[in-house]
Every structure is written in structure tokens, then in C-alpha cells.
Amino acid sequence: MGLIEVGIAGVKAFAVLMMVLNLSAILLWVERKGSALIQDRIGANRANIFGIMPFNLGFINTLIADPLKLLTKEDVVPKGADKFLHFLAPFLAVFPVLVTFAAVPFGDQLVIGDTVINLQVADLDIGILYVLAMSSLAVYGVVLGGWASNSRWALLGGIRGSAQMISYEIAMGLALIGVIMTFGTLDLQAIARAQGHHFFDVIPAWGIIYQPLGFLIFLIAGIAESKRVPFDLPEGESELISGYFTEYSGMKQAAFMLSDFAESVVVAGLATTLFFGAWQVPFLFRDGFHFPGGAIVALPHLVVVVMQILSFTIKVFVLCIFQILVRWTLPRYRYDQVMDLGWKYLLPLALANMLVTGVAIVLLG
């Protein structure tokens, strides 16, 4: 590998990491303001820089003020806690979520001269399995955070969290098998490319048209994986204070929160890639727009690539907003309801989806 290739890989990795982190931070603000809107409050509006800001730039101020507050808070380690694991758990919660996005393609190829840059950090032929592998590791942050804190609330939250995450991982994996069967590949970039054509020249052939039930199961399981309302039993503040991160403060607690938000972004990114045509823009091909009816608008390569990346980002953002809407609309499930939904409804539905997909492939293909 040449120096240039290493540089390009580094830039891509950095850009994607920054995108996930920044989107998570922006989502935190959207969530605070959005929840206020839904609950008929004003929401975060006090942040100001030494009172010298002439008007309230709520957005930017809160974005700076929130992390500053968290960074400067005291870091408390409870008595009797396992110090090393207590320290390690937030990292274990954040790390798998952040590396998952490496396999998600955010655009097609960028061609500069002779160099072809694949707009994906890691071009893996087992992309989906990599994503599942990393998300299966995310549970350790929760379990260890709960156990190492030496606190009943935290332990209960950790146990709830791990049981819930294992349960919904199965439904999620089985829902993804329908997609894998449809496209016949585990490569996320290949799946993205396969969604580039149109039915009857008008309807983009996105995954959701092949797998509507698969999308529903994936989204529900994804929200459950990110432990958000209506599945926030592991945190359940009315029962467990704040569950597995009860005994965390300052930036470590923020790391757990960040991992939840980043998980939302990852779920949105995967749903976009698998069900909403990834970076595809309807009617946009490599050389420009080809509208039904024959109209062609030629566009330069760079514009096409920028539009693809924008398309991906906008889809991810819309799905993130949707998750926030779900969060502030639905009440929390009871714990047995969460388990019932996962095992008695989503799992058989996902299996049925696999069967129907298989029959359809045999009959149509």
C-alpha cells in the first residue's frame, strides 16, 4: 500500500468518524428541542457565552455548553467498584458502535484522474456480518458498566440491558437474512449498487420494496438495540434511577449516552443502506439524471458524487429524526412485553419473512 492510499484511507476513516460523532451531538440538541416541541415547552434556551452573545444562538451554544459541562464535572467512582472495569465499560460501549460505520458505504466511487476512491472506509465482502459482529460486542459495555459499579440498580439495569440486546439481536439478524437473500450478497456496497435501477422506469428499486416486513422488524429491533424509548427498560429512570450507568458521572456517563445516540445513527445508516437505496438518488446515474420519458440532464462527475453523499446523509438524518419522534411519542413497554415482542412476535415474523422471501425467489427467479 502506497503512502497516498494510506492517506486516503485515513481521511475517509476520520471523515466517517466525525460524521457519526457530530451527527450524534446534533441529535442530542434536536432531541432536546424536539422533545420540548412535542411536550409544548421551550426547551434548551439558556446557554450563552459569558452573557455576551447579543442573541440566543441556542443551537451552537448548547452544542458547546453540553460537552463543556460534562467534561468539567467531577468523575465519581463508587466505593467497592471494580475500578478498572468501571473505567473500561464506557469505552467498550462506544467503541463497537463507532467502528460499525466503517463498513457502511456513503457514496459510489470518486474518480480523480487515475485514482479511484471507493467511498467506504472498509470494503468488506462480509459487510453485513461485520456489522452484526460489532453490534454483538456492544452488549459488554452495558453488562460491565452494570456489574463493575457495585450497585443494585446498575446491576439490574445491566442484566436487563444484556437480555434485551441478545433477544433483539436475533430478530435483527433474521430480518437481515431476508435482505441478504434478496440481493444475494453480504457486501454492503454491492447491495447499494443493486438498488440503482427502477421498476417500470419510475419506482426506484430500493430494498424496502422487496422487504417491507424485513424493514419493520429491523427498525424495531434496531431501536430496541439502542435501548431507547419504548425499549429503555435498561435505563428505566422511574424504576432503576438510570440503570446500568447510574454510578457514572461526567464524561463517562456522556460516553454511554453518546453510544446510544451513535447507535441510533448506525441503525439509521444501515436502514438507509439496506432499505432506502443507500447513496442512490432516484433517476441519478453516473453521468447525470435520466428521467422517465427520456429527458436527460448531464452532470459532471463531482456533482454526482456530492449529490450521492448528500442523499445518504439526508436519508440517515431523516431516519434519525424518525427515531426521535418514536421516542417522544410512545410510552415505555413493561419488561415482559419487551421480551414477548422480541421472542413471540418479531422472531416468528422474521422467520416467516425468510420463508416467503425464499419462496418468492424460487418462483420469480
Binding site: 462480509i126 460486542l137 452488549v139 453480504l186
Partner: protein
């Protein structure tokens, strides 16, 4: 480059494996086992066996070990008492015996195995396609038998976990 990477990985893997059997705290032992399994997956990646690496993490590090950790935490096992009487001594003896047998087997295998065969494997032999093809053709029978074994285990677990319909008369 590959050799150095492998050496570092091998040392780390063995260190983690030693941690599994030497650490007095059961939770930490289980965590060391997770690290060992994860590092083994990385070794598989070095061997270009991507599919096996992913499955190793999903199945062992991500699913089975979560249950191990879960159970150990639920039982709230404390630090293992090193001398718990004769049973402990017998168990240790058996463990040593099993370990020695395995070591001898490994040594015999390495000596008599295809040590001279260092030809490069064909491209893509560790991908999903190649693994699936050998699973569903050459190894179909063992594969299906394994699934029956797992089914039996699932049925057994359901039977054991079922609530008793009637109170038992004693």
C-alpha cells in the same frame, strides 16, 4: 509485516488464555476468554478467513460469552477459594491429565501433519461463498446432524425451563 503481526497476536492470545485459567475472579476469567476469542478472530482475519472470523465474533465472543458472563453475574460468584478440600484436588488432577493429553495430541499432529505444505490457498477461500459451498456439499451430513443436536438442546432447555403444571406430591 505479517509475521510480526502474527507474533504479537500469538503472544497476546496466549497471555489472555493464561489469564482465563489463572485469574481468581470468575468474571475476569470470562472476560479474558472473550479477549482470547476476539484475538483468535483477528488471527482468522490474518489468514484471510473473513467469514470464519465474523462468525467467531458473532457466535462465541458476542453470543455464547454474553450468556457465560450473564450467568456468572447472576450467581454472583465470589473469588474462588483455592483449597476447598479433596474434590478440588481430584478436579485439578483431571484438568492436568486432560491438558497433558491435549498437548501430546497437538505435538503428534504438528510432527506428523502436512508441515511441508505451504502453498498459498486459492483466492477467496475464506469468503462466504467458499465456506457455504463446502458446508452444503462436502460437509452436508455433519452440518445437518449438528443442527439436529442443537434442536435437541433447545427442546431440552424448553422442557427444563417449563413451569410445572401441577405441584409435585412428595
Amino acid at each position: 509485516m505479517g509475521a510480526i503481526l502474527f507474533l504479537v497476536l500469538a503472544v497476546l492470545t496466549i497471555a489472555a488464555a493464561l489469564g482465563v485459567i489463572l485469574h481468581p475472579n470468575p468474571v475476569k476469567s470470562a472476560l479474558f476468554l472473550i479477549v482470547t476469542l476476539f484475538l483468535l478472530a483477528v488471527v482468522f482475519v490474518l489468514l484471510e478467513a473473513h467469514m470464519i472470523a465474523a462468525l467467531q465474533i458473532i457466535v462465541y465472543a458476542g453470543a455464547i460469552m454474553v450468556l457465560f458472563v450473564f450467568v456468572i453475574m447472576l450467581l454472583n460468584l465470589g473469588i474462588d477459594d483455592p483449597d476447598r478440600g479433596r474434590r478440588q484436588v481430584v478436579l485439578r488432577g483431571l484438568a492436568w491429565l486432560g491438558g497433558i493429553v491435549l498437548a501430546v495430541e497437538l505435538a503428534l499432529l504438528v510432527r506428523g501433519g502436512p508441515a511441508g505444505n505451504t502453498a498459498a490457498a486459492p483466492a477467496g477461500y475464506g469468503g462466504a461463498l467458499a465456506v457455504a459451498q463446502s458446508l452444503y456439499t462436502d460437509f452436508l451430513l455433519p452440518f445437518e446432524l449438528t443442527s439436529i443436536l442443537l434442536l435437541v438442546a433447545v427442546v431440552g432447555a424448553v422442557v427444563l425451563a417449563q413451569k410445572q403444571r401441577r405441584p409435585t406430591i412428595s
